[in-house]
């Protein structure tokens, strides 16, 4: 029941292969990531989720297959090139500087300048607008250091940072891991709003509750292969678990 998005996808992986010495980490991964939707990438540990997102993020070059971005085949072999296209990956460590405040983090590496100096006021204003668009309201002051934020708020800052850099595809690695109930809620809502604004979102997650809550499309990996992808409505909890643990689903489950 693999349903590809055809030409409508923002990013399409076609038969991507990746080997590390004798280990075949990815074999024939075909995956579509459409704009304006949340695509969840599921799979057990070692299924190849991390390798897949790192390949998309430009950390590793695929050994075979092709990537199509917005209808054009692409080859990027550095995270910088991927970011230049508009692919922004948020890893679990979030890559924030605790000693800097929210505005400073959101603009890190892309500071606004005026007469060669940091233009704090413009940055603050733009950061505030972005946070407002994403409806991140739990942050009282955007001038507080990131060290003082909760996990959910930090995640929100990382997302806002991605949006700030005009990302077209935001990949999030386990965004709700280690978050409490209400913070998970916060982050999931944020992910939905992000997709609603037209950005393609890919969420890597173990947590099926979150996946079914937030995903428009689900893709499951098993032992380095992408075994199934399709609209979330075509899955249920049992079939998803079976795909994740065995690579196929029994007819009754699907």
């Amino acid at each position: 029941m693999s349903t590809t998005e055809g030409n409508g996808a923002l990013l399409s992986l076609r038969g991507i292969q990746k080997r590390f010495g004798p280990v075949q980490a990815l074999s024939d991964v075909t995956l579509d990531i459409p704009a304006g939707k949340v695509t969840a990438l599921c799979g057990d540990n070692g299924a190849g989720k991390s390798v897949t997102i790192k390949t998309i993020a430009g950390l590793w070059e695929p050994d075979g297959g092709e990537m199509v971005w917005d209808g054009k085949p692409i080859r990027h072999n550095s995270p910088r090139e991927a970011e230049h296209l508009g692919i922004k990956t948020i890893y679990q460590d979030l890559a924030l500087c605790d000693n800097l405040d929210i505005v400073q983090n959101m603009f890190l590496g892309h500071e606004e300048l005026r007469h060669g100096l940091l233009d704090e006021d413009t940055m603050e204003q733009r950061a505030r607008e972005t946070l407002k668009e994403l409806r991140v309201t739990t942050v009282r002051s955007i001038r507080q250091p990131v060290a003082s934020l909760s996990g959910g708020q930090r995640q929100s800052v990382a997302v806002a940072k991605a949006v700030m850099s005009n990302a077209k595809l935001v990949i999030m690695d386990e965004p709700t891991a280690a978050l409490g109930v209400s913070q998970t809620r916060q982050v999931l809502d944020l992910i939905k709003r992000l997709a609603a604004s037209g950005v393609a979102v890919m969420v890597v997650s173990h947590n099926l509750n979150d996946v079914f809550e937030v995903a428009d499309r689900i893709a499951v990996m098993y032992l380095g292969r992408l075994v199934v992808q399709g609209p979330a409505s075509e899955f249920n909890r049992q079939s998803a678990v079976e795909y994740m643990t065995t690579g196929t689903a029994s007819p009754t489950a699907a």
């Binding site: 890559a95 500087c97 002051s141 250091p145 209400s182 913070q183």
Partner: protein, 435 residues
């Protein structure tokens, strides 16, 4: 790590993940809308050990009161001016060290880096070379800045620990300094005299006239007030948060009082036999350097990146920051600043000599930065910290000297102050981690 601990805490119910009190302690005056609010948040922050320079300033005041009670000669015009002249060296070396500490690196070479700068400076400006003094200054800054560049390159490109590279630097620079004195036939016994007419000599030994002092002070205060008010107004116009008016007035008032008091002390006659008045040039020299550095750290990309790299190198790298260059730049700056400190050193001595104890000076430099509140773990600290820390060290040496305490005990006392400062830093970090 602090983050994991906060992340695990579940927080059902509350809209914000942190409670209101926690938020205001963590992010203090940013939320305050009135003077009362502000003071309230500020007090909470102090209790939380997050007050920045305040406990250190309180410590400085306490030490001063202690010495004044012990020796009434302590708070005299003459002693205060002497004390600051002594502090100037520690402040500048502390600022040099701050560049390295902010990146959680260390620079052990700045003591003898300053020694090299001192010889370059005096050899270029004294006979037979006789270059203008400012060329000599540029030469000294460029020479030691270049040595910093070499050390920074070794640290970043080969990946060597800065402790070892700059320890080697300390030895090598001592050797270079001795060699510079050896090859110079005018350096009799390793000493080059500084001409009393040289502006470098006058830095410490000559004073601004009292009227010039007041004029400079007035201009500085007016500029500071104008910039502060202009900033607040333009922020308000753009709908951004501004500190309450009361806080602005209080800040400006305190800065003005401090400036006027300092100028008053300097402009009193402090001579025992002949009349000596006016602020020594070394005062504005040090203030200017600290101000320019503070400005650079706060308002330029490079300054921002130093803090980013010091806190989270990986995040900085992923943000596209050239981490290696930032680290190298910090070592260039620490070398260049050591060269500026050599102006103060040679001016105070009236000559440059190989008897310079660069090994001890570098330790005072680290102590000045750390006592002032800069952490050894990177990412936290400011240039002003070096100013306060340098003053504290000078106050201790000066006060204990007045009390007739032996140098041995002076060192032990400084050691305790250093330990107290580092303990404070550790406690703050632990509190932050628990929160």
């Amino acid at each position: 790590m602090t983050t994991e601990q906060t992340e695990i805490t579940p927080d059902e119910g509350s809209e914000s993940a942190l409670s209101e009190t926690e938020l205001t302690t963590a992010a203090p005056e940013v939320l305050a809308t009135s003077l009362g609010d502000y003071l309230d948040a500020w007090w909470r922050r102090i209790k939380n050990g997050e007050s920045g320079a305040l406990p250190v300033i309180a410590g400085l005041v306490a030490i001063i009161i202690f010495f004044q009670i012990e020796r009434s000669a302590f708070l005299t015009d003459q002693n205060l001016v002497n004390l600051f002249e002594e502090a100037a060296l520690y402040i500048l070396l502390g600022a040099a060290e701050t560049f390295a500490l902010l990146l959680s690196e260390i620079d052990l070479s700045i003591g003898y880096g300053m020694g090299i700068a001192g010889f370059v400076l005096t050899e270029l400006s004294a006979p037979p070379v006789n270059l203008p003094w400012w060329v000599a200054v540029i030469g000294a800054v460029a020479a030691v800045g270049f040595l910093g560049f070499v050390q920074g390159t070794l640290i970043t490109r080969i990946g060597l620990p800065s402790f070892i590279v700059t320890l080697a630097g300390q030895l090598a620079f001592l050797g270079i300094m001795l060699e510079l004195a050896n090859v110079d036939s005018t350096a009799v016994g390793g000493v080059i005299q500084l001409s009393p007419t040289s502006p470098i000599y006058k830095l410490v030994n000559s004073n601004m006239s009292t009227s010039l002092g007041w004029i400079v002070l007035a201009v500085c205060l007016l500029l500071f007030a104008a910039v502060t008010l202009y900033r607040n107004r333009s922020r308000k116009a753009r709908g951004l948060h501004t500190p309450p008016v009361g806080v602005t007035v209080l800040t400006l008032g305190m800065v003005a009082v401090a400036g006027i008091l300092l100028m008053y002390v300097c402009n009193n006659n402090r001579g025992a036999i002949s009349v000596i008045r006016g602020m020594p040039w070394v005062f504005p020299f040090v203030f200017l350097i600290i101000a320019v550095y503070s400005w650079m750290m706060a308002r330029t990309r490079t300054g921002r990146y130093i803090y980013a790299v010091g806190n989270n190198q990986e995040a900085a790298r992923r943000a596209g920051i050239k981490v290696k260059w930032i680290v190298t730049f910090a070592f260039i700056m620490s070398g260049a600043t050591a060269a500026l400190a050599s102006l103060v050193y040679t001016s105070t001595q009236g000559n440059m000599s190989t008897s310079l104890d660069g090994g001890s000076l570098v330790l005072y430099a680290v102590a000045a930065a750390v006592i002032g509140g800069t952490t050894l773990f990177g990412g936290r600290g400011r240039m002003v910290n070096a100013l306060i820390g340098g003053l504290i060290i000078a106050v201790i040496f000066d006060g204990l000297g007045l009390m007739g305490v032996s140098p041995a005990v002076q060192n032990i006392a400084t050691a305790f102050v250093l330990l107290a400062a580092v303990s404070l830093d550790a406690i703050v970090r632990r509190r932050a981690a628990v929160r």
